[in-house]
Amino acid sequence: MFSVTSVSRCYKLNMPDLQPFLFWLIAAATALCAIAVVVTQNIVRAATWLLFALAGTSAIFFLLGADLVGVTQLLVYVGGTLVLLVFGVMLTAQGPFITMKTGAAEWAISAVVGLLFLGVLAVSAFSVRDNKPGPPLGSTTWEFAPAKRLSTDPANAQYSAVIGMGFLGVGVGPAHMEGNRVVRTNYLLPFEIVSVHLLVVLIGAAYLARAKRRRRAAT
């Protein structure tokens, strides 16, 4: 079995193709599923392809090393939103196995809108100034450390404790100048806004799902 008392070496492999290879594989699968969402005529199958597209997005987050975001994507989108979507589809369908037929005009308009949106996304993705360009593709070294133990010290837990402290107002984000001091950003305000938002949503859901009193007809 695997031992953690062995030497903790980092194995540097010259694998210039690996990370792009995995990225293109996952991105191609995600894109194919996204196209299938639009093309298929059965609405529950469209939800299934959407499931795979969102799971592919989560896989890209894992590939970037953002474990927490990838897991949240799985929990919120796949486990929550998509289940809700499928419930809604099934409970409001007028009959089993509904097919949707899209006319040619709808295809044309949506293609134009989609291409415009793609242009906007591409322009904004390539124009981010803080984006530090990585090493050229041919010289990427893949660092893989199977025997290196992740830090089990909760003070250094990379994702959960640090983000939690950020939500409570401790400065954990990127540093910037404010007046003549250097401060780090915290995430207190977004946390409070999201909390109030969630409370509103919960109250609204409870109100909408309340048992309605029937009017008794006067006899």
Binding site: S3, V44, F97
Partner: protein
Amino acid sequence: MGELTLDAIWEWLVSFWGDWGWLLLPLIAALALITFMLVSAIFSVWLERKVAGRIQDRLGPTRVGGKFGWLQTLADGLKLLVKEDIIPAQADHMLFRLGPYIALTGSFVAFLALPYGDGVVATQMNVAVFFMLAVMSTEVFGIILIGYGSGSKWSLFGGMREAAQMVSYEVPMAICVLVPVIVAGSMNLLYFATVQPATEMTLNSRSLMWNWYLFNDPFTFAAFWTYFTCATASCKRAPFDLAEAESELVAGFHTEYSGFRWLSIFMAEYGSMFAVSGIASLLFLGGWHTGFLPADPTYWLGGFFGNVINVVVFIAKCWTLVFVMMWVRWTLPRLRIDQVMMTCLKYLLPISCVLLLGVSVWNLFLPTTVLALFPKFLFVVCVLFALFVIKQLMTWASAQPGTGMPGMWSMVGVSGYQGAKKN
């Protein structure tokens, strides 16, 4: 034989296959995990039949493979493999085929983050317990596809009820998981059971039974039982198994599934049972520690043999919890679907919220002597209670044969009885 460490495997693979040899290591880990999951499911099916039999005062399988019917599940599996693959005419063919695989994948991927020993894990993740819960929530979609794709109203009702139940029980389950995570401060499952022998070989070592999170404070104690109830419900086990109830809904959401497809659904269910038992034993029951050693066995026996002991202890704990799930199944009657939802929303969810609040303030407002003494006190109380229960069971007044409820053995002396002989 050289020490079987990860480095040795790695170096052999790289020397043999070049740089792409590293791809084999994750494949080997995945193969080992899925083999374990499926063999564990085979064992669990046999165990279920034996446990069901014994609780119902009969023997269970006794013929295939010797006196205890060891190979019964193998015979069942062979039968299911050669059964005719029936797909109903009005089923949605693609979704009908796809559903069991999504359920099985959701159940299996959770095993990737589950550690079996000190460092014995496929992927070390800082968010391991969160990952396991999130991935097991994708199983719900598989159930929906199974229910919908069958094209039958029984399946659709069963699938809808099942999906609603699983999704609802995820909320108190996640809140109960948060309770020991708050105490420990990390979501990394390795952290819960890791003991640093050089600094911690004292009575406060995390590997000793009274230091397990189960006894840490009353809120984690209650959280264990609440988590176990929610986990039983989210694995659609009785008493929450109305969606696959034989008597009410034919077979619920898997009515139209026979042969190997049905087997996939059940592999997913038994895999999920093991995974949630794994989370429970890591979070609350000390993971792979035996409970009476002050440090990890790797400290005395080296990496390989120490971890073999760790893995065996962990699997034994998980199978014990799976046995408890089976024991509950064959003891309690089934809840109606509205009772299932009411249990979740009106009882378990408020209880788990109170537990979350309680554990958050426990550490803040109590003096340190109480915090240090309470686990020992609770451990002593639990040990005394366990001894009391054992004493009651051993000295329970039992009816004379021939009086009281007739069981199988009371018929042995009756003439003309052709059943099993009491030996």
